[in-house]
């Protein structure tokens, strides 16, 4: 048994209550939701919070809500809920793709999307996914709410704009027509962190060309999670293998992976290239399929 350092524990019954508890117990208090990142770090004594504020009772943060322009996901929504959601699968297949390869069922039953984003692990799949989907996040503090882009949320590895006395409450994903997205990860074993993973999202114009494209890479040292040159190369082009190959080449060039037990730099660059090609193919295919469905539904 791994034994953490001593800590105290409080259970919040509302967002306001959680914010009060954070204020009351001061800088060494931490929120705990699924706990699948924080608890292992505590057991290894790499994290030593004095107080844990448990937010697992905040059911108000466990929701998926769709309207015409935006899909809202509560921060306490579990991975398993995202994986099983038909709405998510229909609008943002990239999330379903990613959830299939995030950890294992035990972790997915507990872990939350808010926890994933706030952990800001460079190998975290949902961070890349949210970057690619141009998500916005809602952060609440005692003095009110603010909304940030993913680029503003993530300030570096394990660092976010969420202050110690704030809670990330909601993730907002813009809904677009003729939209397709995909995610693919290479791991040493099911449940391991990514060696490299790639995500892509494209929306197609009426003429079938690429109107907007976002490409994101996981675990390759990207501050923003996305690769700009590849995205620029895609914009306005017609989906084709040549275009994917060129964009993927740029993605491979523009990442800055480190060599570690999961693989050397050249292999990770190769994977960034290979996986970018794969997710672009799949995202464009899905966008075309969705476009076709939408066209059929029009009078």
């Amino acid at each position: 048994m791994q034994i953490p350092a001593a800590f105290d524990y409080a259970r919040a019954d509302s967002v306001e209550h959680a914010l009060e508890l954070l204020e009351q117990h001061g800088p060494e208090s931490r929120l705990i939701a699924g706990g699948h990142s924080l608890l292992p770090m505590m057991k290894l004594r790499l994290a030593r919070p004095e107080w844990l504020v448990d937010i697992n009772d905040l059911h108000e943060l466990d929701f998926i809500s769709e309207d015409a322009e935006v899909l809202r996901i509560g921060a306490l929504t579990r991975h398993a809920t995202l994986l099983e959601s038909d709405v998510i699968a229909r609008l943002f297949a990239i999330i379903t793709d990613a959830e299939h390869v995030i950890a294992d069922p035990v972790v997915r039953n507990r872990g939350t999307i808010g926890g994933s984003l706030c952990q800001a692990d460079p190998a975290e799949d949902l961070s890349t996914v949210c970057h690619v989907l141009s998500a916005e996040v809602v952060i609440r503090g005692r003095s009110g709410e603010r909304t940030l882009s993913m680029a503003d949320l993530h300030r570096g590895p394990y660092e976010t704009a969420v202050a110690q006395d704030e809670i990330l409450t909601e993730i907002r994903l813009p809904v677009r027509p003729r939209f397709g997205s995909a995610y693919e990860k290479v791991e040493r074993r099911v449940g391991d962190w990514a060696i490299v993973a790639a995500g892509a999202a494209v929306s197609l114009a009426g003429d079938g060309s690429i109107e907007q494209a976002r490409v994101g890479l996981t675990a390759v040292g990207l501050d923003s999670g996305t690769v700009t040159r590849a995205e620029e190369a895609l914009r306005g082009g017609r989906p084709s293998e040549e275009l994917f190959v060129e964009a993927a080449r740029l993605a491979g060039e523009d990442c800055s992976p480190d060599s570690d037990q999961r693989g050397p730099v050249d292999y990770k660059r190769h994977l960034a290239d290979e996986l970018t090609r794969r997710v672009l193919r799949r995202a464009c295919r899905r966008a075309a399929e969705q476009g076709a469905e939408q066209t059929c539904r029009l009078p």
Binding site: M1, Q2, I3, R188, R189, G191, R262, Y267, E274
Partner: protein, 807 residues
């Protein structure tokens, strides 16, 4: 013997009894056969009784402070603050152990190992101090209050360079030591081998690494020491695979009289060799109990288990094979650097510092063979027995099976065909190999052909050709292994002077129920079922009426324990012979009861009867009651139905098997998917096929782990890179296919029931099949070898022609 024309086993679907437990229950074997495990009702209900389930009155808790660095001189240890912690009862350092002569303890390989460091630390994770506190949380907190000053020294991390001039001397504690050399050991005839190589048409050579891995049992190691100062008795609960050997060693080392030591090994959550040795934590718990006068529990955490307890493998091998151009293998030779870590704590029979590595001649009829193994110290954790390796047979089989494939590639021959051409033939058994083994029995071609038949080998090769034409990467890997297991004989094999024999005691109670007491200890192998079935087979008592007692030195006869697939070959022999003694005694008693001469009695399972008059007979139950009743017994027969045997095996047993693996590799990512795995095993007589299949499934899964992901690595500063399950990967159900098993039966001619042992076969045989399949898939790219673990990165590098070994 079974033949290919009549496949002995269903390949694929399980039989009806497995699907329908009710039907199975009606047809429970009295003796050998499929039988659900007697121990499982408690395990599947969470009612197993493991070490950490035990709480003794007044029990305290220990924790070990470990070195954060791989190599350093100990400058000072300040325990003042820890000792002042309100819940701490004792803080023990190496200096405290020195006056007791316990700062160092002998290892299982004639070396010494620091219990708590006194002069230097020699690997990251080495034991430096021990805290005893009122609860495990306080013990752990108090470790952080101990201040240790280290003078960091350069570590020796590359075993290949350990013997270079000028390298730091790790073991300067040993008198006159000027280098990191432990031993050189050879087997076979060097000159004869060189002569065969000189005249061979074809010679292939290949560097092959079997990297350091860890057994990682689900339950980590631990102990509870309970020293009674009034009567001087030490009761020691331990996660040990060898309770009797441990008791004797504690008596020899700690000076506590052996009759005042009781070692109890409760249910064990997996061992795989990890629980053979005596770890410093156990000794510290004993000292802690003596010092505080209270029971002291110490259970290591997962990182401690991975970083400090007995690892496996770490053999850096260069293999060479000499052959004729038409594929007749003439000779093999190899040189090995064996990385033993900071202390030589490997558990091997004394005469064999490289274990049974000299079985590396494999399953082939050779003209010559020679191996040389050099053991070296490095600044890594000590050990080296572990992980189902049957004393280095794993490394040997991996080397020879990889090398046969290298040869097949060179000769452009099919690897199955090459093996078939070179097998030892049935009529050559008992077969004397070129390094001193006498293989007991084998029908290799039959097993190989059965495995090819189950696999649909020719069809697979056709599928592969089609896929290759389309640029897809599919590989078919073959391995054929012969193990040598079941050590002794005791005249050749001992561990620290204790002969490798095992005792068993069978008692039939007056009502005909029985108890069998064993010296070996199960870690999940199903001993409570298997050994009951052996008694049942011999005496006709139903297995459910036979209690199996093990894991307690006060209740069981002496013996060396469970590792190296010993239990069935050695203790199985003891139990069978003890049961036969009981049967012979029952005959004497029955003869009185039936008023017939013993010679006129005939045995059928469970009953002696008068020859020619089958109605006149006595069951074993009736005889048991007679033995304990008022019957007037014949001269020299005392009033019980008990017997005891210590079995000294005349030879080892040689299980074998033919494995075929099919992999698909993603050409864009290097990810390997094991699609199919066919395992045909021959472990001689099959006592409980259900348990055998379970053992095979577990071992095959181990093999997938080692072949694809498991690796204890270090950085150049000596930091262990495999210290948690985030870094040390073990396989899950997602990485393994549905196992396809089959069997042949070639009994051991010298074993009382013909059984050979199955515990390690699959762990030994599967890694080469998987790696051979991977290399086979990559052959079109000119790949000849890829070292384990075959991670996506290493496989991709191999595809680029630049695969690197892991160390």
């Amino acid at each position: 013997m079974t033949t290919l024309d009549e496949p002995p086993v269903p390949a694929g679907p399980v039989d009806e009894r497995e699907r329908n437990p009710a039907a199975a229950a009606e047809d429970r074997p009295i003796g050998f056969g499929r039988l659900q495990r007697k121990e499982d009702p408690r395990f599947v209900r969470g009612k197993g009784h493991y070490l950490d389930d035990i709480t003794l009155p007044g029990m305290l808790h220990g924790a070990v402070l470990r070195s954060p660095v791989a190599h350093a001189r100990l400058v000072s240890i300040d325990t003042t603050a820890a000792a002042a912690h309100p819940k701490v009862r004792a803080v023990i350092t190496g200096k405290d152990l020195e006056p007791l002569n316990l700062a160092w303890a002998p290892t299982l390989s004639a070396d010494v190992q620091a219990v708590l460091a006194t002069d230097k630390v020699r690997f990251q994770g080495q034991e430096v101090a021990f805290v005893v506190a009122e609860d495990r949380y306080a013990a752990r907190d108090a470790l952080e209050l101990i201040k240790v000053e280290y003078d960091v020294l350069p570590p020796v991390m590359d075993a290949r360079k350990a013997l270079d001039p000028g390298m730091p001397v790790i073991r300067d504690d040993l008198e006159g030591r000027t280098d990191n050399h432990i031993f050189d050991w050879e087997a076979g005839d060097s000159a004869a081998t060189d002569a065969v190589f000189a005249r061979a048409d074809v010679v292939v050579s290949q560097d092959v690494v079997y990297p350091r891995v860890h057994p990682a049992p689900m339950e980590t190691c631990g102990a509870i020491a309970d020293y009674d100062p009034i009567d001087g008795k030490l009761t020691l609960y331990e996660t040990t695979q060898a309770p009797h050997a441990h008791r004797t060693l504690y008596a020899l080392v700690a000076g506590i009289p052996e009759h005042k030591i009781r070692v109890i090994s409760p249910d064990i959550g997996g061992g795989f060799g990890n629980k053979v040795g005596i770890y410093p934590g156990y000794v510290c718990a004993v000292v802690g109990s003596i010092v505080t006068g209270k029971p002291v529990k110490w259970v290591e955490d997962r990182s401690e288990n991975l970083m400090s307890t007995s690892f496996a493998r770490d053999y850096l091998m260069r293999g060479e094979v000499a052959a004729t151009s038409d594929g007749r293998i003439l000779a093999v030779r190899t040189t090995v650097i064996a990385d033993h870590g900071a202390f030589n704590a490997t558990a091997q029979p004394t005469k064999y510092p490289a274990g049974f590595f000299h079985i590396f001649t494999g399953s082939y009829d050779l003209e010559a063979a020679h191996c040389k193994v050099t053991g070296v110290y490095t600044n890594k954790a000590p050990g080296g027995v572990a992980y189902a390796c049957s004393f280095r047979v794993t490394e040997a089989v991996y080397l020879v099976e990889r090398m046969v494939d290298v040869l097949a590639q060179k000769l452009a021959m099919d690897p199955a065909e090459l093996r078939l051409k070179n097998f030892i033939r049935p009529e050559q058994f008992p077969y004397q190999n070129k390094t001193g083994w006498e293989y007991d029995s084998g029908e290799y071609e039959t097993a190989m052909r059965l495995s090819m038949k189950i696999a649909g080998y020719d069809e697979l090769r056709r599928e592969q050709a089609d896929k290759r034409a389309r640029g897809e990467l599919m590989g078919i890997g073959v391995s054929f292994f012969t193990e040598t297991v079941g050590a002794g004989p005791r005249r050749h094999m001992d561990i620290v002077g204790l002969g490798m024999a095992d005792g068993a005691e069978v008692r039939v109670h007056p009502t005909g129920k029985a108890v069998v007491r064993l010296s070996v200890q199960s870690q999940g192998q199903g001993h409570e079922t298997t050994f009951a079935q052996i008694v049942a087979e011999e005496l006709g008592i139903p297995p459910e009426s036979i209690e199996v007692v093990h894991g307690d030195t006060d209740q069981t006869p002496f013996g060396l324990g469970t590792y190296g697939s010993r239990s069935t070959p050695v203790s199985g022999g003891a139990v069978a012979l003890a049961s036969r003694k009981v049967r012979d005694k029952a005959r004497m008693i029955a003869s009185v009861m039936l008023e017939a001469r013993p010679d006129d009695l005939e045995w059928e399972k469970g009953r002696w009867f008068v020859r020619g008059d089958p109605e006149q007979g006595k069951t074993i139950s009736e005889i048991a009651l007679g033995a304990h009743g008022t019957l007037e017994l014949p001269e020299g027969v005392d009033g019980n139905l008990d017997a005891e045997v210590t079995y000294d095996p005349p030879n080892l047993t040689f299980p074998f098997g033919a494995y075929i693996c099919v992999v698909d590799i993603d050409p864009g990512t290097g990810v390997v998917k094991v699609r199919r795995f066919i395992a045909v095993d021959d472990c001689g007589t099959r006592i409980n096929p259900m348990i055998i299949e379970g053992q095979v499934h577990g071992g095959l899964t181990d093999g997938v782990g080692m072949a694809l992901m498991e690796f204890i690595g270090f950085d150049e500063d000596g930091n262990c890179l495999g210290g948690s399950f985030m870094d040390y990967l073990i396989p899950t159900s997602m990485e393994v296919p549905d196992w396809e098993t089959g069997y042949t039966v070639t009994p051991s001619p010298h074993h009382p029931i013909g059984a050979k042992g199955i515990g390690e076969s699959a762990t030994v045989g599967s890694p080469p099949a998987i790696v051979n399949a991977i290399v086979d898939a990559l052959q079109p790219m000119g790949v000849v070898h890829v070292d384990m673990p075959c991670t996506p990165a290493r496989v991709w590098a191999a595809m680029q022609g630049r695969a690197q070994p892991p160390v």
